[in-house]
C-alpha cells in the first residue's frame, strides 16, 4: 500500500472521529433538554400521528404538548382516535402513570340512503356547502346527502367514499375512527357519530311530516309509519315525537332485527355491513311504481 492510501485512511478516520467526538461533546456539555419536550415526544408516540385536527389542536404533536402540560386535556379535548385504540391508550396510561379507561369505539353514519329524486340540474361548484345554499340542495328531499364529498375531503383516514350513482356518502365502519370531523363539515347535518356497537341505524333524516319522501320524493325514505316500533317487542325501538322518527338507544345498544325486517322502505340498516348489499334493487322499483301511479 502506498503512502497516499494510508494518508486517505488516516484522514477519513480522523475526520470521522472528530465529528463523533464533537457530537459527543455537544451532547455531554449542553444543558439538559426541556423535560416538557421529552415528555411531549413520549406522549406523541402513542397518538395516532395523522394530524387530523379533530381535537382542536393544530396536530398530534401540539396535542401531545398540551397533554404534557396538563393531563386534563385528555378529557377536555378528547382525541377520538386515541379513545378507540385500547392498546395506545394503555401505553399512554403507563407513560402518564394513570389508569385510562378506553371510551367506546365510535363510528360515523350517514343518515341518508341517497335515493331522492333530483329537483334541478346543479352545475355549480363541486361542494356540498355551495350546493346546499340553493334551495337546500338540488335534490327533492331537503335532508338528502348531496354527495359532493365535503366529508370525504376532511376524513383523515379516507373512510368515506361517494357512491357516484346515487350521489351519497358511504362510511366504511372498519376504517372510520369516529373523529367527528365529517359531522362538523356536513352542511346538511346528516352525519352522526354513534357507538360502533350499535347494531342498526336509520338511513334517513327526513324530519318533516308533510311531504312523505317514501311516496313521492324518495323511494327509500322513512315514511313515519311506526312499523318498526310495533314490530319491536322488547322496546328496542323508541319513537321520537319531535322528529317523528324511530330512535335507537345509544346506551342500551339493543339489536332490532324485527324492525329491520318489518320496515317497508328497508331504511333501517345494519351498521356493520356495506350499504349497497342491503339495498334490494328489485324491491325498490316495485315500491316506486304504484306510488307514481297514485299521483
Amino acid at each position: 500500500m502506498d503512502s497516499t492510501a494510508i494518508l486517505i485512511i488516516v484522514f477519513l478516520t480522523l475526520v470521522g472521529l472528530g465529528c463523533g467526538i464533537a457530537i459527543f461533546l455537544a451532547n455531554r456539555f449542553l444543558p439538559d433538554e426541556d423535560p416538557l419536550l421529552k415528555r411531549t415526544e413520549e406522549i406523541s408516540q402513542y397518538l395516532p400521528g395523522m394530524n387530523c385536527g379533530a381535537c382542536g389542536m393544530p396536530g398530534c404533536f401540539a396535542y401531545a404538548g398540551e397533554v404534557a402540560k396538563d393531563v386534563e386535556c385528555l378529557d377536555k379535548y378528547p382525541c377520538m382516535t386515541l379513545q378507540n385504540d385500547p392498546e395506545a391508550l394503555k401505553g399512554l396510561g403507563q407513560c402518564l402513570g394513570l389508569e385510562l379507561s378506553g371510551g367506546e369505539k365510535k363510528v360515523a353514519v350517514v343518515h341518508c340512503a341517497g335515493d331522492s329524486e333530483v329537483l334541478f340540474d346543479y352545475a355549480g361548484i363541486d361542494s356540498c356547502k355551495a350546493a346546499s345554499q340553493i334551495s337546500a340542495g338540488y335534490k327533492k328531499c331537503p335532508y338528502a346527502c348531496l354527495g359532493f364529498g365535503d366529508c370525504a375531503e376532511v376524513c383523515p383516514v379516507n373512510a368515506i367514499s361517494i357512491d357516484s350513482e346515487k350521489k351519497v356518502a358511504v362510511v366504511d365502519p372498519e376504517v372510520c375512527i369516529g373523529c367527528g370531523l365529517c359531522a362538523k363539515e356536513c352542511p346538511q347535518n346528516i352525519i352522526e357519530i354513534i357507538p360502533a356497537e350499535m347494531p342498526q341505524f336509520l338511513a334517513c333524516s327526513y324530519l318533516s311530516r308533510k311531504d312523505i319522501p317514501g311516496r313521492e320524493k324518495c323511494s327509500i325514505g322513512c315514511i313515519h309509519c311506526k312499523m318498526c316500533v310495533r314490530a319491536s317487542e322488547g322496546g328496542e325501538v323508541d319513537w321520537d315525537d319531535k322528529t317523528f322518527m324511530p330512535l335507537f338507544d345509544h346506551a342500551k345498544l339493543l339489536p332490532a332485527p324485527a324492525a329491520i325486517d318489518k320496515c317497508p322502505k328497508k331504511v333501517i340498516l345494519k351498521r356493520d355491513s356495506p350499504r349497497w348489499s342491503q339495498m334490494p334493487k328489485k324491491e325498490r322499483v316495485e315500491v316506486e311504481k304504484p306510488a307514481v301511479k297514485k299521483e
Binding site: G16, G20, A22, I23, L30, P31
Partner: protein, 191 residues
C-alpha cells in the same frame, strides 16, 4: 468590499441555486406550499450553509490541500455537513425549544440537501478566501430563501385560483417554476 457585494448578489440572484443551478429542488417543491414553513426552511438553510462553508473551508485548506488529496473532498464534506447538522439540531433542541418547534423537521432534512454540499464545492472551485466563502454561503442561502418565499407566495394564491382539474397541485407548480426560472435569467445582465 465591492467584490464581496458582487459575490453576494451573483450567488443570490444571477447564479441562483434553485433556478439557475438547479440545486435543492426537493425543498423547492416540497416545502413551498406555505410561506411560513418556506421561511423556516430558508432560515435553517442559511445557517447550515454558513456553518458548513466555514468548517469545510478550514478542512480543505488546512488538511486536504497541503497533503494533495483534494479528491477526498466529496466524502469528507458529506461527513462533516451531516454531523454539523446533528450538532446544530442538538444545540437548538437543548437551548431554545420554541426555535426547535419552529424549524421542526426541516433541520434534519437539510442534512442531505444538495444545495448545502453544492455551495461548499463551489467555494472550493472558485478558490474563494475565507471572507468570500462566508459571503458566498450567505448569498446562496438568501437566494434560496428568496426563491422559496416567492414560490410559496404564488402557490398560496394558486390554491385559491380556478385551475383546470388536470393542472391542480404539482403540474401548475412546475409551470410556475418554469416562468420563475425564465424571469431569473434576466438577472444575468446585471453584472
Amino acid at each position: 468590499m465591492n467584490e464581496l457585494l458582487t459575490i453576494f448578489f451573483s450567488m443570490a440572484l444571477i447564479n441562483n441555486f434553485v433556478l439557475t443551478k438547479f440545486l435543492g429542488l426537493c425543498p423547492f417543491f416540497g416545502v413551498s406550499k406555505k410561506l411560513k414553513s418556506a421561511l423556516s426552511m430558508g432560515l435553517a438553510v442559511i445557517v447550515v450553509m454558513m456553518a458548513a462553508s466555514l468548517v469545510t473551508w478550514l478542512l480543505y485548506y488546512q488538511l486536504l490541500e497541503p497533503n494533495g488529496v483534494e479528491y477526498m473532498k466529496t466524502v469528507i464534506f458529506i461527513l462533516v455537513i451531516a454531523s454539523l447538522v446533528q450538532i446544530l439540531e442538538l444545540t437548538i433542541r437543548r437551548t431554545n425549544v420554541a426555535l426547535y418547534n419552529a424549524l421542526g423537521i426541516y433541520l434534519p432534512l437539510i442534512t442531505t440537501n444538495c444545495a448545502v454540499l453544492g455551495v461548499t464545492f463551489l467555494n472550493v472551485q472558485e478558490g474563494y478566501g475565507f471572507a468570500e466563502t462566508l459571503v458566498a454561503a450567505l448569498g446562496a442561502g438568501v437566494g434560496f430563501t428568496l426563491v422559496l418565499a416567492i414560490m410559496s407566495g404564488i402557490r398560496e394564491r394558486l390554491e385559491l385560483a380556478d385551475t383546470p382539474k388536470s393542472f391542480e397541485g404539482m403540474p401548475v407548480a412546475f409551470l410556475v417554476a418554469m416562468l420563475l426560472g425564465i424571469s431569473f435569467i434576466a438577472f444575468g445582465g446585471m453584472v
